[in-house]
């Protein structure tokens, strides 16, 4: 078979980590070396999104060979070009073995347990090329839906797939869509919530930056299913690269007739715009996000009415998370029963997690629902560094619950985690080793909530401030035995009566920690000691 065009592709994953390790300099050196060796016609250099492994520095993936080089520096480039590209000899010393991108073979445990559906293209394709996305079966689902399926059929497929929203709450996506679909209104909207601000979470950023078209295609399908003709991607203002990539993807889709009027001759119109956030965690709450999109302070709205009935400018609006939308094209293309083979019967599909904290291999992973915490931490994340012990894990970001050592075998899914007072939340998984103090960490969580409370309701505005005062007393050796009860009562009241999700979820890690580590709180309150030696007790100084 004769081959036209490049014989090899060199993939360089570009993300904040690799950039901080000099990925741009490596790429420039590579371009130069290829030109000098007259290889520019047969080798194409592709900047891709992240592959989720952040312990190997700058990666260089040779495709189709399936060789992954790690910790690549400018100095390695001449050797790689000469030996691998010219003489077809792999530079063994630079190869890393536990990175998997797309279809490549792998031998490591870390990757065996992963199932990459949402991340299918991330790290493999050039996110700035719609042709690359199309070459990987992109927009096939949209084409099929628009030409041979009715909106009801698309909606039914998503409903039957059982997918639950990946932004945190886990509400069934198809059900949400059906609320909007049944509304009669002159205008409906699809809003992609990309205001990712949960500490420890960066999965949406890496999906947006690695495969923006999959999100756009998901929005297009959502619009078709519910009868919306306009979409917005509300992206966190700090995510400069996500914003630029998404804007580019929209332009490309428009120029190919995949957005705009009469898409693929189907008579269906749909267009998308980017809106930038300006730095406010609360704007991830869907009604606060809508307020912000209307140019106001991002304060949550009273519900009901829910956004599918009355959302942006009072019109029916579906707000979906980035990861949810990136799943949609696969579900529509392959069908609900295909999707249900992944995950658990009550919680189908995969989940993208960011693995952070005291963990050997931090980064981005995608695993089937139902995997245990133990497998994620010890098999995929390679355990806890420096020989320390496991103290607890927090699932779902700072608003998530606390799981202690006895709960390592709980399956990770919406329903099973809910039973132990936790949740999947936004997909952040924080691992904490035993050099840390649980009271100090709870104080850290509360500092975050106190800063990010929008101030609209008293329980959250004043409650987080009071909690912070009490916790500060405990961590500075001025605690009182009554403080434990105060924390508990305040937390329970906030959970019950705060206006929105932020204030209601803020107590989750506090109550979870108190339930599992009450004796540590008591030590701080009663004997003014911190067994981890983290809190600087005044009593100790005096003693």
């Amino acid at each position: 078979m004769s081959m036209r065009g490049p014989k090899r592709h060199l993939l360089i994953p570009i993300d904040p980590y690799t950039l901080s390790k000099g990925a741009e300099r490596v790429k420039a050196a590579l371009d130069k070396a290829l030109a000098l060796s007259n290889l520019t016609d047969t080798v194409r250099v592709v900047e891709t999104g992240t592959v989720g492994h952040h312990e190997h520095g700058v990666l260089l993936i040779v495709y189709p060979d399936g060789v992954v080089y790690g910790d690549v520096t400018v100095d390695n480039i001449p050797q790689i070009v000469r030996e691998h590209l010219q003489e077809n000899r792999v530079v063994e010393g630079l190869v890393v073995r536990d990175v998997r991108i797309g279809p490549f073979d792998t031998r490591a445990r870390r990757v065996e347990k992963q199932v990459r559906l949402v991340l299918r293209n991330v790290g493999l394709i050039d996110p700035e090329s719609i042709e690359d996305y199309i070459a990987h079966e992109g927009y096939e689902a949209a084409a099929r839906a628009l030409t041979s399926l009715s909106p009801e059929q698309v909606l039914e497929t998503v409903k039957a797939s059982g997918i639950q929203g990946r932004g945190g709450a886990g509400f069934p996506t198809g059900v949400k869509w059906s609320f909007a679909a049944r509304e009669k209104a002159p205008q409906k909207y699809i809003v992609c919530n990309a205001d990712e601000g949960e500490p420890g979470t960066f999965k949406d950023r890496l999906i947006l930056e690695g495969d923006p078209h999959s999100v756009l295609e998901g929005m297009l399908l959502a619009g078709y299913a519910v009868g919306a003709t306009k979409g917005y991607v509300y992206i966190r203002g700090e995510y400069r690269m996500s914003i630029a990539r998404m804007r580019k993807a929209i332009d490309q889709a428009r120029s190919k007739g995949l957005l705009g009027r009469n898409i693929l001759g189907s008579g269906f119109d749909f267009d998308v715009e980017v809106r930038e956030g300006a730095g406010a965690y609360i704007c991830g709450e869907e009604t606060a996000l809508l307020e912000s999109m209307e140019g106001k302070r991002g304060e949550p709205r009273n519900k009901p009415p829910f956004p599918p009935q009355a959302g942006l400018w009072g019109m029916p609006t579906v707000v979906n998370n980035v990861e949810t939308l990136a799943n949609i094209p696969l579900i529509v293309k392959n069908g609900a029963s295909w999707y249900r083979q992944f995950g658990t019967p009550t919680c189908p599909g995969t989940k993208v997690f960011t693995l952070v904290g005291n963990i050997v291999s931090p980064g981005l992973i995608e695993v089937p629902m139902g995997i245990t915490l133990r497998e994620v931490i010890f098999d995929i994340g390679h355990g806890i560094p420096r020989g320390r012990g496991f103290l607890f894990a927090q699932t779902g970001g700072t608003t998530g619950g606390i799981l202690a050592a006895g709960e390592l075998d709980v399956p990770m899914a919406y329903d099973t985690l809910r039973q132990v007072g936790s949740g999947l939340g936004s997909g952040a998984l924080l691992v904490v080793d035993d050099s840390n103090c649980v009271v100090d960490l709870v104080q850290n969580f509360v500092e975050f909530f106190n800063h990010e409370s929008c101030g609209k309701c008293t329980l959250c505005r004043e409650g987080t401030g009071r909690l912070l005062e009490i916790l500060h007393r405990l961590t500075s050796g001025q605690g009182d035995p009554r403080d434990i009860d105060l924390i508990r009562r305040l937390s329970v009241n906030m959970k019950r009566a705060a206006f929105c999700g932020l204030g209601q979820a803020a107590p989750t890690p506090i109550l979870g920690a108190l339930q599992r580590f009450e004796e540590i709180f008591r030590e701080h309150a009663e004997s003014h000691t911190c067994r981890a030696g983290v809190c600087r007790m005044r009593a100790e100084v005096a003693a």
């Binding site: 420890g200 400069r240 019109m315 904290g357 975050f448």
Partner: protein, 159 residues
């Protein structure tokens, strides 16, 4: 200072939509959203000054006070915290001689605490302007800031 009324009022059902983006642009031009800037925005858009002020003070990326030449965004959320962010922050505070929220007397740095930058895999992390730094230690952080200072001094020496 030109503020297009259309930019904010939009058309039909979507008034005010781009107020936040407009304020961002004004901040880029003027450095911060001072009282003078906000008053002009109010006059030219017809929106109440109180509403505009409410928006300008709500969002972290908008500021009504002037900032240093380099804004240091330091993350102290839990993922950075469990990997030693506190010691790094203490070192920075001591090195700069200012508390979070303050600007150094030479106007070079403003130290700001930020919510998660999404750089948790290389925690502890910070941004200086648009530059990202990870795996920080107290020594590394100080060396980075010293670098900016040196560069600044050299630029002045040549100008």
């Amino acid at each position: 200072m030109a503020v297009s009324e259309d930019a904010i009022q939009g058309s039909g059902a979507e008034p005010r939509a781009s107020l936040i983006e407009l304020l961002k642009r004004m901040q880029e031009t003027h450095g911060c959203l001072s009282q003078e800037v906000l008053t002009k925005v109010a006059a030219e858009t017809g929106l109440p000054l109180s509403k505009i002020y409410g928006v300008a003070t709500f969002y972290t990326l908008l500021t009504t006070r002037p900032k240093g030449r380099y804004r240091i965004f330091f993350c102290k959320n839990a993922p950075c915290h469990v990997r030693g962010a506190r010691r790094v922050l203490e070192a920075i505070v001591e090195y700069l001689g200012v508390q979070p929220g303050e600007t150094t007397p030479d106007g070079l740095f403003t130290l700001e605490l930020t919510s998660c930058l999404g750089l948790c895999a290389v925690a502890p992390a910070m941004m200086v302007g648009d530059d990202v730094y990870g795996n920080l230690t107290p020594q590394k952080a100080m060396a980075i800031l010293e670098d900016y200072r040196t560069r600044e001094r050299n630029e002045h020496a040549w100008s």
